[in-house]
Symmetry: C2
């Protein structure tokens, strides 16, 4: 990258930071917790959301912000699960940013105390750079993706407050070492929490709900 | 994006195009075929490469260019498979570009007629925008990622010459519809070829080798 590109990148990120701070302040004042879910395509974000909404919506107002390059497929799934949802289509863009988060919040106008689950664009690289003003960042990886992911995509894992290892129902059929993967995640982010779940069968989901409750 | 960002993006892509054209010309003159492999993290690019090297290296000079944010884990696996390899670490970057491809080719100095397999950074979004000067672009998706991926990441699938649906050995354990996925891929790219393989068991790999031979 030449110096012009770097300068512009800094300016873009600084502007994003301002809007993110504004979002964070507004969310804090309303007692709303926003959680930013990031992963590769196909790691199971939407399935995890569907089950989470079904299990938590009775006890707390839950709303979802859906980021995708195209289509409203995920938003449609979330709506069916019985939840307020706003779709953000990024087109050729590879991540959500604070401005998109701001527009989505304006359109949702969530009740005080709500839980906002943000499903970022499926991408283990770029979303790590863009603060949305969220309370916490969660990285989801699936056991089908390979044990070494935290080492190969360290920026994403360094940014995370929580790592969820998903699809543990498939462990018998794939070559994946949960303990080693956890160790790799801690090697780039010593304090990160790690949970193992199957969003499909429900195994381990109660640990995730406990973690969510701790964010309040 | 503001107009300044768009102008700079155009300039960056135009410069990339110039270098890509130069790479393409040089590769063509040497009768070298370069194939750019793109996918989400964990779709099985490296495993596919390992098997391909084992099966093809007897009949043709094969070399690999490995793109990763960090680590030489994949390059080490490729070296073990018995192949010339150059590692390109992109740091926070999310894709390979034509300049990186040029440096890697200079360092490899492949024999005329070689096959160059490029493993791009695991990312189903950004690498689609950056021409490397390669002969063909291949997108690999795994059956664990979900049937709807071509609709949700249309830019990548529109750019592809070939889609490889990998990990078909896991079909009994996941909810994935090969025929519908193929239909979705054709809906964004009517002429794209689609193959189904398991790089782990070897099923379907001979179709992939035939496709590679057709690139010459």
């Amino acid at each position: 990258m030449n110096s012009e590109t770097i300068t512009l990148e800094r300016r873009v990120l600084a502007k994003n930071e301002d809007v993110a701070d504004h979002n964070r302040e507004w969310l804090g004042a309303q007692g709303i917790v926003a959680v930013n879910l990031m992963s590769s395509p196909g790691a199971g974000k939407t399935t995890l959301l569907e089950r989470t909404i079904g299990d938590l919506a009775g006890s707390r107002a839950v709303a979802v912000i859906e980021g995708d390059q195209e289509t409203t497929l995920d938003a449609d799934r979330i709506k069916k699960a019985g939840c307020e949802v706003v779709q953000v289509n990024t087109g050729a863009g590879c991540h959500l940013d604070a401005e998109m988060m701001h527009s989505a919040l304006t359109s949702l106008s969530p009740a005080p105390g709500s839980l906002i689950l943000v499903e970022n664009v499926g991408n283990l690289v770029c979303p790590a750079l863009f603060d949305l003003g969220e309370r916490s960042k969660v990285v989801i990886i699936s056991v089908t993706e390979g044990t070494d992911k935290p080492l190969k995509y360290p920026y994403m894992f360094a940014a995370a407050d929580l790592v969820i290892i998903n699809k543990i129902d498939l462990l018998p059929y794939v070559d994946f070492d949960v303990e080693r993967c956890e160790g790799y995640a801690r090697s780039v982010n010593p304090k990160v929490r790690v949970l193992t779940v199957s969003a499909t069968t429900g195994e381990g989901m109660s640990d995730w709900y406990e973690w969510v409750a701790e964010q309040y």
